[in-house]
């Protein structure tokens, strides 16, 4: 059984079929890349998987549990975190405050606990250190550069200790040094047991990171395989360059 199974998902917006019977499986422990030309339905698929959009047909199964119509909050609670193509953080809060939103601890007592407690801060600080923005702890999040915001969004999800992380264009708009650093961090986390599904246009980033690549075209899966297999597949090139 795969960690995440997407089965025959369809989603139409008016007359446009963003997803048309799309199926995809993400294996436990993998770093799976999801590529495809603009408008092939990658972000819509992410939205359906994470509960932001309801599909017209098909099912999404996470660790054997059907989560097809579950709310974003429920899906996140099951250990699936995501970042957005256009970064979404809480801009009027500080970096440290942002870090405490997604802490997954049940119970009223944890909610009423002061997030300023030393152990709470220390744990968040560790993760900020891990992604490399610990020098910005008390800065308002809106003052961060775009790349730094992306790193913050990533760290915010990690605090919830997810099993599967969906990254939507993590290297988009990020300078090459930061992108390289991100690659390194993703690999470290993967060794610690976190599975990744990554949408990315930067081919170098995808090829160096992913052990499996799935290609989407016109709302469904065109092909999948190792980076080398996908690179050598003429159908993929055709999808990108058009008929």
């Amino acid at each position: 059984m795969s960690l995440l199974e997407v089965n025959g998902i369809s989603k139409a917006f008016g007359g446009i079929h963003a997803l048309d019977g799309c199926s995809l499986a993400v294996e436990q422990g993998s770093i799976t890349g999801l590529i495809g030309p603009n408008g092939s339905g990658k972000t819509t698929l992410f939205n359906v998987i994470t509960g932001y959009e309801r599909p017209d047909a098909g099912t999404v199964t996470l660790r054997g549990t059907d989560v097809t119509n579950a709310s974003p909050s429920t899906i996140f609670g099951l250990g699936l975190g995501r970042t957005f193509q256009i970064v979404r953080i809480f801009s009027r809060l500080t970096v440290m405050e942002n870090m405490h939103i997604a802490v997954q601890r049940r119970g009223v007592r944890s909610l009423l606990r002061r997030w300023t407690a030393p152990d709470e801060r220390a744990h968040a600080q560790e993760l900020l250190d891990f992604v490399g923005i610990s020098h910005l702890t008390d800065a308002p999040a809106e003052n961060l550069s775009y790349g730094q915001k992306k790193l913050l969004e990533f760290a915010m999800i990690l605090i919830a200790e997810p099993r599967l992380v969906l990254l939507d264009e993590p290297a988009g708009g990020v300078n090459p040094t930061l992108a390289a650093q991100l690659t390194d961090r993703i690999k470290t986390l993967n060794q610690r047991g976190i599975t990744f599904l990554i949408v990315e246009h930067n081919m170098q980033f995808v090829m160096s990171l992913c052990d499996k690549v799935a290609v989407m075209h016109r709302g469904s899966l065109l092909t999948e395989g190792t980076p080398d297999q996908v690179r050598g597949n003429p159908a993929v090139l055709e999808a990108y360059l058009g008929d």
């Binding site: 932001y52 909050s73 809480f90 009423l112 308002p140 090459p176």
Partner: protein, 343 residues
């Protein structure tokens, strides 16, 4: 550390000094006209603080808080009339009861109104005020309609009758402030602020948005309900149009905006400025001038410091300290984002 004061100590000392000043105020200035204004100011400050707990933190601008003020006022009036209670200190025991009833009323009201967002929420909360005002007018057998209700006379001594109202109202304000402070420093408070910034994103990070909003709404209503009861007992009579009064919430909201929404000191500062100004104008200026003053003041605030007085001053203060080289909020070093070629 000897030369400069410990900033944490300063943080504790300042509010305590202000509290002592507030406690001494009616004793130092035993002028009834002045203390009358002081009691009303404390009421507005408590309501603006309570409003801020919900609207300031979550970003849902409620114009419906008069509803809870009216509930509080009618609860204390109806119970004291129905039971034929006498005035005196014991009637203050009904104030928390009024708060609880207002909080209970806030559960269904919040449950319905919180299905909307943004401007729709503003409008629908304002409508609730009119609905309850109409009910108070028309359920004559229960509320006595437009004739109103009269509370028992307090029977306090002439030279100190304001003091009980003053100190109990001060206690309610302090309680509201401590609640607000506690929420702000808890993870629950961060949830509310996250809802303000991006509710859908918060939902996607496991924030129980619906329940969180409703609880803040209920806490907020509890304090406003208590103030409503205090007001009814203070004034002695209540009428539907004066307790379910849309102008009241608008005043509270303006106070919070003037001082600084989402801050602790902002709503209080706004209440002190506006209530004093209102009283001053009603005594010394021709009718209607206050509205012009209010309009002018808000133009100035919106144009020069749209976040309100407290955040704007805080920003100036930080800028001044940074210029003096004393350090301040760290600013992110700007890294130039490089566009990565797509395709």
């Amino acid at each position: 550390m000897k030369r400069s004061l410990n900033p944490r100590l300063v943080k504790i000392v300042w509010p305590l000094l202000l509290l002592v000043a507030a406690i001494l105020f009616p004793l130092v200035f035993p002028n009834p006209a002045l203390d009358n204004i002081a009691v009303l100011t404390l009421m507005y400050a408590a309501m603006a603080t309570a409003w801020n707990i919900f609207s300031g933190y979550t970003g849902y601008n409620s114009l419906g808080h008069s509803t809870f003020f009216g509930f509080g006022a009618y609860v204390i009036a109806l119970i004291s009339v129905d039971k034929g209670l006498e005035g005196g200190f014991s009637l203050f025991l009904l104030v928390p009861v009024a708060g609880v009833v207002a909080a209970l009323a806030a559960i269904p009201i919040g449950w319905i109104t919180l299905r909307t967002r943004g401007h729709a929420f503003v409008v629908i909360t304002l409508i609730t005020v009119f609905i309850f005002q109409l009910l108070a007018f028309n359920l004559r057998g229960f509320t006595n309609g437009s004739i109103g209700l009269f509370l028992p006379a307090p029977g306090f001594g002439v030279d100190w009758f304001l003091l009980p109202y003053y100190y109990i109202q001060l206690a309610i304000l302090v309680l509201a402030l401590l609640t607000s402070l506690y929420i702000r420093s808890s993870r629950y408070g961060l949830w509310l602020l996250a809802i303000r910034d991006d509710e859908d994103r918060a939902e996607g990070l496991g924030v129980r948005t619906g329940t969180s909003k409703l609880i803040a709404f209920v806490i907020s209503a509890f304090f406003v309900g208590m103030v409503g009861a205090m007001y009814a007992y203070f004034i002695g009579s209540i009428y539907p149009q004066y307790v379910f009064d849309p102008a009241l919430t608008i005043t509270i909201v303006l106070m919070a905006f003037l001082g600084g929404v989402g801050t602790l000191a902002g709503p209080i500062l706004g209440a002190i400025i506006l209530e004093t100004a209102q009283q001053y104008f009603s005594i010394y200026a021709p009718t209607g001038l206050y509205q012009i003053f209010l309009g002018a003041l808000f133009l100035i605030v919106i144009l020069l410091m749209p976040q309100g007085i407290v955040p704007s001053l805080a920003r100036l203060w930080t800028a001044w300290r940074v210029r003096r080289g004393a350090g301040g909020t760290p600013v992110a070093p700007e890294r130039q984002p490089v566009a990565v070629e797509k395709g």
